[in-house]
Amino acid sequence: MRHRLKWGSIILAMTAGALLAHHSPSAEFDMTKRLTIAGTLTKVDWINPHIVVSIDAKSDRGKIENWRFESNPPSWFRRVGVSRSEIARGIGQPVTVEAVRAKDGSLYGYMQKLTLADGTSWELVNATEK
């Protein structure tokens, strides 16, 4: 029944801006390291408590790796006017993801920005930028 308080404290604590989760972001992600991954969008899971997109990307050694990136909840995306189908139309196509990486070193992160091949992009920003 407590509401704004914790989201508010999370966003105040963030220097990167709009990374949000159903847990404290810094408990899972290294907020200081933003990475960019280019690859092929293979899957868009519109699930709670976070949507998840999957990307096949080539490692430095040429091996295909499957990265997964979570982001805000589906109910949030609905309320900022983004539907799964808008993003899912990029499946099978090259995309770029900007994210912060999980601290455990797995191929996992919190998505900050997704850009499709045609230049369409969605980026989490501070609400104050509006």
């Binding site: 509401h3 159903h22 847990h23 404290s24 309320r79 999980a102 920003v125 509006k130």
Partner: protein, 255 residues
């Protein structure tokens, strides 16, 4: 004899014509009660950039309300149980089943997203990541169900006190919390929910009583729930995938 019959007839006529008590109509779609990230999204489509945030005027808020009961910030646990409540709070991301897509129960789920009011019952519909529960609450004066098994959303009956709908919910399973900060309860928990209208808004205030664990009933801050035009949508399934990567027990701030 003749006058007696006339008296009976006139009495019956008066009763039939007496105005029925008109209760406020709480029916409608109400704003999403669960807090959402305050972030906005910056979209670039065909070179056009827009920034869209969650409309906070369409989100339930907590603020002082005339007519609300006095409330306190936290419940008062019995001294011997305070350590347990603190331990649950300190390890919330491990101990809170809502973190793992579990049902929040009442009152943690908050006010309903949609209310359908009929002469003899209230139908509450909810959106929640654990599923989209409903409650059908008799208002015809009947008692709680006998021999019902305990459930996450309990067994509820309601009545009107003036313009206030008072819902009496009980018979809960023990594994929910009544607040996100480790507020555990026993099988004796009773939840009293009060609903009334304040202009176009719906006011929702809850009192939790559990004499097995609390020193006194706990009344929460009232919630102001705004009318909404957003239709209810089926909540996508919930798959918890973060817990194995968490490096500490920080709070999750979900609800």
């Amino acid at each position: 004899m003749r006058y007696g019959l006339l008296f009976v007839f006139l009495t019956a006529l008066m009763l039939a014509q007496a105005p029925k008590t008109i209760h406020p109509d709480l029916s409608g779609i109400w704003s999403y009660g669960i807090d959402l990230p305050p972030a906005a999204i910056k979209k670039q489509i065909n070179g056009k950039v827009t920034i869209e945030g969650v409309k906070h005027d369409a989100v339930a808020t907590i603020r002082p309300v005339a007519g609300a009961s006095p409330f306190t910030a936290t419940p008062s646990y019995k001294p011997e149980l305070r350590a347990k409540a603190k331990d649950l709070l300190d390890h919330e991301s491990k101990t809170d089943q809502v973190f793992y897509c579990g049902k929040p129960g009442i009152p943690r789920i908050g006010p309903p997203r949609k209310i359908v009011q009929t002469p003899n019952e209230m139908i509450f519909l909810y959106e929640d990541i654990s599923g989209d529960p409903y409650r059908i609450i008799p208002t015809d004066g009947r008692s709680h169900r006998a021999n019902a098994d305990p459930t996450y959303y309990g067994d509820s009956v309601a009545h009107w006190e003036g313009n206030v709908l008072v819902v009496d919910a009980r018979n809960f399973v023990e594994d929910t919390w009544f607040g996100e900060d480790g507020y555990f309860h026993s099988d004796a928990m009773r939840v009293t929910e009060r609903f009334w209208k304040d202009g176009a808004n719906l006011i929702y205030q809850v009192t939790v009583d559990d004499p097995k664990v609390l020193t006194a009933p706990w009344t929460m801050a009232p919630r102001v729930v705004k009318p909404s035009a957003e239709p209810l949508e089926e909540s996508p399934r919930c798959v918890e995938a973060d817990s194995k990567r968490l490096t500490n027990n920080d709070h999750h701030g979900q609800r």
